[in-house]
């Protein structure tokens, strides 16, 4: 299990590769891996967005991410879980979050990856402040993840 909150640019594919070196001894027990990467768009709610500041609650945020990963490992049969989340100043096209799960079976990998992502959005303390042409604004709400949008 790798849980990280990072304050500079990270490469999701490098992070996945690093996790896979950790589980190399049980590589041939794994049949499925599911990865999700959230990246910053240059638009939101109809406005163009130049950059974004991601605030977190140091200590509580890491604790929640760990709890989410541990609970996922009790609910699904997982060989490994990696969560990486960016904080600080960030620009369009940069990665915000990586959730990655490895399992013997594909339903376990898919379900757990998605559930971790939804849990993260609804319970991990992060807040986005966007810089638009009209100044800065706090994003008010995350939209639901099992519906059609965002």
């Amino acid at each position: 299990m790798i849980i990280k909150v990072v304050d500079n640019l990270f490469d999701p594919l490098d992070e996945i590769r690093a996790s896979e070196t950790e589980l190399v001894t049980r590589r041939s027990k794994i049949g499925a891996s599911s990865f999700f990467v959230g990246t910053m768009r240059d638009f939101n709610e109809g406005d163009s967005v130049q950059s974004m500041f991601l605030e977190h609650y140091s200590g509580m945020t890491e604790k929640r991410l760990e709890e989410i990963a541990v609970l996922a490992k009790t609910k699904w049969s997982l060989d490994w879980v990696t969560i990486v989340h960016r904080i600080g100043q960030i620009h369009p096209a940069e990665p915000i979050v990586l959730v990655a799960t490895w399992s013997a079976h594909r339903a376990q990998a898919f379900d757990s990856c998605r559930s971790i992502m939804e849990q993260l959005k609804s319970t991990a303390p992060f807040w986005k402040k966007e810089s638009t042409n009209d100044g800065t604004r706090w994003v008010k709400n995350n939209t639901a993840g099992y519906s059609e949008n965002d």
Binding site: H56, Y57, P125, W127
Partner: protein, 77 residues
């Protein structure tokens, strides 16, 4: 008794500070703390509370040494 009070994101902007220490006698709830620290501001609906990094309810009681945090709906990920 003394506690640490923290405000995040838009609530920090609203209150005008990100943290403060608060001395009090006893029997203070989460909501009481908001009213003592931010008397001019109505707590926005949807606000969340955490005592010592665990989500808590508005009627939960604080005890000596606690850290209580107030924050708006989460927008990470």
């Amino acid at each position: 008794m003394s506690i640490k009070v923290r405000f995040f994101a838009s609530l920090s902007d609203m209150v005008g500070k990100s943290e403060m220490d608060l001395e009090f006698a006893e029997g203070l709830t989460v909501l009481d703390v908001w009213e003592k620290t931010s008397p001019d501001d109505l707590l926005p609906s949807g606000s969340l509370f955490a005592i010592n990094h665990n989500y808590s309810e508005p009627e939960d009681l604080l005890k000596d040494g606690d850290e209580i945090a107030f924050f708006p709906p989460l927008t990470g990920g």
